[in-house]
Symmetry: C2
Subunit: 441 residues, 2 copies
């Protein structure tokens, strides 16, 4: 925290020498963090400094902030920055930009860079092809380890973080991986094909980033080859790219519940933030009025017994809480591919049983409190029944909503929570007031 | 999905040969997934099969399910499994168990294994020391690369996923890392100290797992050395362990909001699940009754104007939504160390401004709807004011609650949401009914 604090202070006081000193001591990713944690004005001030190298820092900045900074950069600077990055990083930052700017940047590049980038840009961002780095060292199966060692020593520049070489046949089709450790621990006379491991299956360039992440986690992979439909080696994915996928999926799930973008900029201008959030508030307002409409149907009942108005939020909110517990479990199970057609019925029965049991316990508690508070036994029984009904239906909704949304191609991370609380509110208010209308008046 | 489905079917029909066939084709991590996605009875059935090797599978199973399986294993089997795992995996599974069982397992081991395990078990689970693997290849600074190559070739068993060697001085103090690539691409005559990289600073064994994860993400590290206070090399952390930390933190944040444990077992017995969730429902019931109590203070007002009972959930729920947007942003910023003393005031002002602006917009919308619905201009103005007040205070609460909870050593991931909605409910109901009591009656 202290570095950030002292940098903020130096920026506030405009002490250039001090700012430069601090910046020079920081890793590019730390500078990226600092940029993200600054209000817009200071962010641009820092970004303009001479000892800030966009090529180093851009890959570390989160999407929204990066876009904002890059839209204010001249095309020539973006081009230089992109040329000096690893291919996968360059693709990452370009995929963010509007198409016409990407086109201009590609035109401004030398043809070699352009060719390599367009190859990857062809694949969607959230696919194995979009994640891969095409900068791969390949060797042939029939080479001896001695030849490989010689070849490695002759190369001047090696791709960063190379821990394995990719083995291909004469058609450039993937055949296996040769770890550097294998080269070092085996007799130099052996051929690559004798030593290489073909255990790790290549990943199709069209596999989704989500499935790539699951694969890496399950197999504890550090890197994996990517191939096209014909089996040609296209590139490789390293675990650090997968870490970014996992982090951004987690952010999406967490922030999505509040209707926010996973890459939201904490220090975006007030109007931008306001607009981003207004839509979600609008959606929720509509559902709140839907609930209010249901309450309104029973206005004569409410007039006759104000205790119902006092107690009705209890029934609605308990349903919302119980339902969101089920919902969270189900959405996570779906994300980890743990729910299938055969265990969904089992899960549904279980959640229903849990809902019923917890419903009974809390129905009794709430009923007793209501009886004591309002000295009305009938009211107590009715609120207990309403609670039991709401908790059971909340469990059902928690299981079904994510599946229905997915079938409708709506992202459950965004929409499941609000759909659930709409249902539990309406059922909560409706059953309590409905039962009261029938049995109390 | 099909493998899981066909395995479920084979288990349901008890076709042993079929089950064994499917199991033999799966990776240990996939078997772990299958175990997690099975109801208890079938889970134990599968676990008892002969071709299931606990040593391979246990490291991949989530904590709660693993504990349940291990508590039913004889000490001897746990010992064999732990001896056949990488040190960091063995520590992981032991840290889960009750102390007396760990003691028995350690006693049953050969002394070498015991010694290496106790060294790591000394550190808390969520620290760099708890994450590290002590199985490290070390070389001395003064060795030539040729000597290193010779040494590597002579070793029979090498630690898995070795991509770098650790360089130590004669006191076993960490001095740098030597990547296998450096050995292969440099002249064999060079000494280790000429080639090694000392860029990556060693991690203190006491650093928290959370900070280790941030460091790995920022620096795109694949592995890093761990040292004790004296600078002695203790072990190394590899990125696959960090992936687990990131995943479990994300789960904790997501599941914590619903009062669930990040490691919750979807297929736990009904009673276990019920008990786990009942506490959270109880906490929420208490807060719901607090809100009900506030409504109860205004029962005479409600009796005279039932429209207030209809509209009051709208004010409360909009406050909850707006507040949770701010809260989510702030908690995430805290987790990424992006909020410091110098930018918190800026952030507070911004969130307050967003709250006020969105408050005004939606206050007008809600006021208009109320005026049309109930043909009562005064009521419309009052609900608009209540909404504006609630959204502004919700923004304030969203910024302050996480800091106050952290100061009180309460986990914001668990408690912030429920604290916020309690406040927005009470303020929402209180201001609407309070203003109505003063100005409408």
């Amino acid at each position: 925290m202290t570095t950030l604090d002292s940098l903020h202070e130096a920026l506030n006081n405009g002490i250039k020498a001090e700012i430069n000193n601090i910046i020079n001591e920081l890793h590019p990713s730390e500078i990226a963090d600092v940029l993200e944690s600054l209000p817009i004005k200071q962010r641009f001030e820092l970004w303009q400094l001479k000892n800030i190298d966009p090529g180093d820092i851009l890959p570390h900045i989160s999407e929204n902030v990066r876009l904002e900074l890059m839209l204010n950069m001249p095309i020539a600077n973006i081009t230089v920055a992109a040329e000096n990055m690893a291919i996968d990083d360059a693709v990452d930052i370009l995929q963010n930009l509007p198409d016409e700017i990407v086109e201009k940047v590609l035109q401004a590049m030398n043809w070699r860079h352009r060719q390599r980038l367009t190859q990857v840009l062809f694949y969607p961002k959230d696919s194995a092809g979009g994640l891969m780095n095409t900068d791969v060292l390949t060797v042939r199966m029939e080479m001896t380890l001695k030849m490989v060692s010689y070849y490695l020593r002759r190369l001047k520049q090696l791709p960063e973080k190379t821990d394995v070489l990719m083995v291909v046949d004469c058609n450039n089709c993937y055949r296996g991986m040769l770890s550097l450790l294998d080269i070092l621990t085996n007799t130099p006379k052996f051929t690559v094909s004798q030593v290489m491991s073909s255990e790790i299956e290549p990943i199709s360039a069209h596999l989704s980033a989500h499935d790539v992440a699951i694969l890496f986690e399950q197999r504890d992979l550090l890197s994996a080859p990517v191939v096209d439909e014909q089996g040609y080696l296209m590139g490789r994915i390293t675990v650090d790219d997968v870490v970014d996928v996992i982090r951004s999926e987690a952010d999406h799930h967490l922030m999505g519940q509040a209707g926010l973008d996973g890459d939201d900029d904490m220090f975006a201008p007030i109007l931008t933030t306001m607009k981003d959030r207004a839509l979600w508030l609008g959606v929720n307002l509509a559902t709140a009025f839907l609930a209010a409409y249901v309450i309104g149907l029973f206005s004569t009942t409410l007039e006759q017994m104000v205790a119902l108005a006092i107690l009705m939020p209890v029934v609605a909110s308990m349903g919302g809480i119980a339902g969101s517990q089920t919902l969270t479990i189900v959405i996570r199970g779906m994300a980890l591919n743990q729910i299938s057609n055969t265990n969904i019925i089992w899960l549904l029965k279980k959640e229903l049983a849990v809902g019923l049991l917890n419903g009974m316990i809390w129905a009794i508690v709430v009923a007793l409190i209501a009886i004591v508070w309002f000295s009305n036994v009938k009211l107590g029984i009715i609120i207990g029944c309403a609670l039991l009904i709401n908790l059971s239906l909340a469990a059902l909704s928690g299981v079904f909503i994510p599946f229905i949304l997915r079938r409708l191609s709506i992202d459950p991370a965004l929409a499941a929570g609000v759909t659930l609380t709409t249902i539990t509110d309406i059922i909560g208010f409706g059953t309590l007031l409905g039962l009261a209308t029938i049995f109390l008046l």
